[in-house]
């Protein structure tokens, strides 16, 4: 995982609530055996027409979305299926942070393991962002703060360990592997065996 420290970008705004991971990557693309190249499947059923041509009116296809690394979405983003293909596709497309008032648990956990920053904020700031698509914002992982164009900053929750992993590009498997002795002791000493 690459280090993630500060993301500065214009926003692209999808105001709908409850955008599920079946929309982010439809199931028919899950027959892949690799995480690579999923960006082209991102929001496929919203983004392309039946013939596979880009729909000009879909948000991510519009010229002003080009180069945006921050997605502002409606409440409860990423609900539904556990597919990690969802953050893989967002990252492959170029999105590095998702901002909402609520982000579903499994999607949030998957995002943090891949360097996609989940930014959960209060309703008022969220409402401002929804009505100011394209605003230039800064997501600072070190301070857990989102800064708006007028300099106003709000905090977002990020546990110390996830923040450490993002800032240092550490993947969590290494940390777990280092617990080998404790795991062996646990297996040996527990009162019952599965």
């Amino acid at each position: 995982m690459d280090k993630v420290t500060v993301i500065r970008s214009r926003t692209v705004v999808m105001p709908q609530a409850d955008i599920d991971t079946d929309q982010i990557v439809p199931a028919r693309f899950l027959t892949t055996t690799t995480r690579k190249g999923l960006g082209k499947t991102l929001f496929a059923d919203w983004r392309y027409d039946k013939a596979g041509a880009a729909r000009p009116d879909f948000l991510l296809n519009r010229p002003e979305a080009a180069g945006c690394a921050v997605l502002v979405a409606g409440h409860n983003f990423g609900c539904g299926s556990s597919r990690e293909h969802a953050p893989w596709a967002l990252l492959d497309f170029g999105i590095q942070a998702v901002i909402s008032t609520g982000i579903a648990d499994i999607f949030r956990s998957n995002s943090l393991k891949n360097g996609l920053v989940p930014v959960i904020i209060d309703a008022e700031t969220h409402a401002w962002l929804l009505s100011h698509a394209g605003a230039e914002v800064t997501v600072d992982v070190a301070t857990c703060r989102l800064t708006l164009p007028d300099g106003r900053a709000v905090g977002f929750p990020l546990d110390a360990f996830s923040r450490y992993c993002l800032l240092n590009g550490v993947d969590q498997l290494g940390h777990l592997l280092a617990q080998g002795e404790a795991i062996t002791a646990f297996e040996r000493n527990r009162a019952w065996q599965p």
Binding site: T31, I106, N110, H175, G180
Partner: protein, 469 residues
């Protein structure tokens, strides 16, 4: 000692390294279930780093998501009927499991089936275990008083490599349901009503414990239906306290403990239910007598109403308006009587024997009208065999329904079983997301009784009108 909930007890029993402000807990996993779709990249991670699977004996694999529901006994059969990338994915899964010594319930296994159906059926899902799978409906296993939750593929690699996960302790929510269900109202209606009440994000960050006299009176299969859809309320997991119903279900199953080990296990399991004064972060209560058969009208499971009720009026809410437009549903009008194109009876929510029996009770002696396609897909090969022994397959077939091999099928539309754009499908599965059953397909979630009633009448119908004494 402070009073602890069922969840607290299972959690505490699996702490390898305690949580600190800086680091999450290292939580031991007793059972990892695997299927073909979310595992390949996890095995790739291990291969790339040269890491072995720590406990191949604690992973059980099967084929369900992209596996066809027409008879397939070998890879060569598969390659004839399946799309090439789905076939490749299954081949990769079989190779990974063979090379790493993981038990795989393959095409030729009588024990193959949907991953969340076979764990309980084999008796390897047990009270007090931590159970994970690269699949959000792992919450199903909580019906046994296990802590079961879905994980992503990176976490699958963590479990394969270390048998552990890094986790922060979730919050808890008690949902109490008291009273008796009316005829025609099922476990599916309970969970749909709960999701309608608390919303699709209502339990985010929480583990739910379902309690009360209504839950205690449910069979294990019904409890599984309830716990299965906990994730549709956003919960990490759903749990039910283990009791005599649980133990009677598990006793004698192939992978359940036997003899002295069984006695010891039951003693341990009896200590798991929440202490009387255990605290929960939130609580919700429902009266079973108020519940009716439920149907969804929109594009998430929280958009749900009692079957006779009108869908909500247009309040100008953009998400609701988009959902109604996708579904071709008029605001403020009931769905009752609307013609259906497809009915799907199956999925890890409602594909067990009792579900098939309920559906069959409606199909018996009735016919599916021309132009309606009905697919009945048992949750496992074992259920298929039992259903056939009872003659349920003949009931479905003579009514005009298709009777298939086990698998996820039209729940997710990855194996060739899909509904067409614009078609209305009444489905016993758990997700009515846009495109879930095929591009442009419109899904109405309901119980097996309601789905069967739609199948034989060709319209959305209150199943209570077709119940027989």
């Amino acid at each position: 000692m402070t009073a602890r909930s069922l969840f607290d007890k299972v959690w505490d029993d699996h702490i390898v390294v305690a949580e600190t402000p800086e680091t999450p807990a290292v939580l031991y996993i007793d059972l990892h279930l695997a299927h073909e779709v979310t595992s390949p990249e996890a095995f790739n991670v291990l291969s790339a780093r040269g890491i072995p699977v720590r406990r191949p004996d604690l992973t059980l694999a099967t084929l369900d998501h992209s596996t066809p529901t027409v008879p397939v006994r070998t890879l060569a059969d598969l390659e004839r009927v399946s799309d090439p990338s789905a076939a490749r994915q299954i081949r990769v899964m079989l190779d990974n499991c063979r090379e790493r010594g993981i038990r795989m319930l393959d095409f030729d296994s009588d024990q193959r089936g949907i991953v969340h159906v076979i764990g309980p059926e084999l008796g390897i899902t047990q009270p007090g275990k931590t159970i994970v799978c690269g699949d959000s409906h792992t919450s199903t296993h909580g019906a046994f008083g296990a802590l079961g939750f879905g994980i992503g593929t990176t976490e699958v690699s963590h479990v394969l490599a270390t048998q552990c996960l890094l986790q922060r302790k979730p919050r808890t929510m008690a949902i109490d349901i008291e009273g008796q269900l009316s005829p025609g109202v099922t476990a599916k209606d309970i969970i749909l009503a709960i999701i309608g009440r608390i919303g699709v994000g209502g339990a985010t960050g929480h583990v739910i414990e379902y309690r009360g006299s209504t839950i205690r009176a449910l069979s294990m299969e019904e409890r599984m239906t309830v716990c299965n859809m906990s994730i549709e309320a956003g919960a990490r997991a759903g749990m039910v306290a283990p009791d005599d119903t649980t133990f009677a279900y598990l006793d004698g199953r192939p992978l359940a403990p036997r003899g002295a080990a069984w006695q010891a296990a039951v003693r341990r399991w009896r200590a798991l239910p929440s202490d009387p004064d255990a605290r929960f972060d939130h609580s919700v209560s429902l009266d079973a007598a108020d519940l009716a058969p439920m149907i969804t009208f929109g594009t998430n499971p929280g958009m749900v109403v009692p079957i006779g009720a009108a869908v909500p009026a247009d309040t100008g809410d953009a998400s609701l308006r988009k959902a109604l437009q996708y579904m071709g549903v008029e605001a403020g009008k009931p769905l009752l009587g609307r013609p259906v194109d497809v009915v799907f009876i199956g999925s890890c929510t409602n594909s067990r024997l009792s579900d098939l029996r309920q559906a069959a009770s409606i199909f018996r002696g009735r016919q599916v009208p021309p132009g309606v396609r009905v697919l009945v897909v048992p949750g496992s090969q074992a259920i298929k065999k039992q259903a056939e022994a009872e003659g349920l397959d003949r009931v479905f077939r003579s009514a005009g329904a298709e009777w298939r091999e086990s698998g996820c099928s039209m729940c997710i539309g990855m194996n060739g079983d899909t509904a067409a754009a614009g078609q209305l499908c009444v489905s016993t599965s758990n997700r009515n997301f846009e495109g879930r059953q095929g591009i442009g397909a419109r899904t109405v979630l309901a119980s097996p009784l309601t789905a069967a009633a739609a199948a034989v009448s060709g319209r959305i119908t209150d199943p209570r009108e077709l119940l027989r004494p």
